[in-house]
């Protein structure tokens, strides 16, 4: 059992150990969908939602697997839950807002293979969080992911107007910005004390 306070868990997942910039989870959408602020916000929202549901389901599954003593099924059952949640979100978005569905494109089904979500569920199991702590952990991780994505999108929108050499354009530039952002976020580790 883990006795961390709820706000500590939230801050930890959101800023100090930001999933994207400190754990390198969810790099694919971070590099792929971070072109526009608008899309980045919605992507962040979708990922946070999936994280929340997966965290709750993951907690239930873990308790069940401990009960029937089958830890080797952990990974397989987690991934099934995540895949079905993503499918659900995909259907909801398609129904509610076809334009957003278009904008997110291939990255929507790819949330399934977003390591941030599976990582979240695995970490929460390792740390032994209870249900409420898991929910806060998921909220923090989702907020952290959204912040990272938003910062990146904002910077990249500005970069459109900058003159950069041709060889640096594209992924290299994005990675360099990511590195600098990651350095910046290290400043938050002081909050830990």
């Amino acid at each position: 059992m883990n006795n961390e306070p709820l706000w500590g868990i939230f801050l930890n997942a959101c800023l100090i150990n930001n999933f994207v910039l400190a754990y390198f989870l969810g790099i694919c959408p971070f590099l792929g969908v971070s072109g526009k602020v608008d899309t980045a916000t919605k992507m962040g929202g979708a990922v946070t939602f999936v994280m929340l549901i997966s965290a709750v389901c993951g907690y239930g599954i873990h308790s069940l697997l401990v009960f029937i003593d089958a830890p080797f099924l952990q990974l397989i059952s987690y991934i099934v839950v995540i895949a079905s949640t993503v499918q659900l979100v995909e259907m909801i978005i398609k129904k509610m807002s076809p334009s957003l569905f278009q904008a997110l494109g291939i990255f929507l089904p790819l949330i399934t293979t977003n390591c941030a979500i599976l990582g979240l569920v695995l970490f929460q199991t390792n740390k032994g969080y209870d249900l409420l702590q898991s929910v806060f952990y998921a909220l923090g991780a989702g907020a952290g992911f959204t912040i990272a994505l938003l910062l990146m999108a904002g910077l990249r929108e500005q970069m459109e107007f900058a003159e950069v050499p041709n060889v640096v354009k594209g992924t290299v530039l994005t990675l360099l910005i990511g590195g600098i952002l990651s350095l910046t976020f290290m400043g938050f580790s002081g909050l830990n004390g």
Binding site: L75, L118, L175
Partner: protein, 212 residues
Amino acid sequence: MSTVLEKEPPKKKDLSTDEFIKGLWKENPVFVQVLGMCPVLAVTNTASNALAMGLATAFVLLMSNILISALRNFIPKQVRISSYILIIATFVTIIDYVIQAISVELHKSLGAFISLIVVNCLILSRAEAFASKNTIGKSIMDALGMGVGFTFGLLCLGVVRELLGSKSLFGFQVFPDQFQDWIVMILPAGGFFTLAFWLLIFNVFKSKKISS
């Protein structure tokens, strides 16, 4: 109609070595396709971690490619992605226990990233783009090429980061004690910078080739 057909000459040259070599260089998963970035950045702070991660990923890639290619006519199209992920997850569970049996220390330093091989986009993309459409033999060559290419990419990062970050290589000290460690290299930011640096070199080479 005939002109359209003539424009696309059928690719007769399907030597299986071609499938192997393309993963090493022309379609290198790390430097060209930029796939499966999470482990590339996260576990490459030492060269031995990078090597272990590369080999584990290559194993899962190979086994899942074989199985998916063998079952490609039996898996219904609608549920194919879920079936692939289940197959991949099975092999990842196997390799997770194998690594734990070989070296508990290594298992600890790789941490959750072994389990996270499941969501490595590289494996799913090879399953979807290649193994589900090709014979077992070709899929094996493809998986071997991609696996070796991925391991090579991880090693490229791991070697640079370990040399500069802790002046050693595979745990053996290389630089003299006076060398000041570049702490940033073992931190997360170092991963971003090193990968950017390698991609930059690749881009410079590519642009030189085009201009000459």
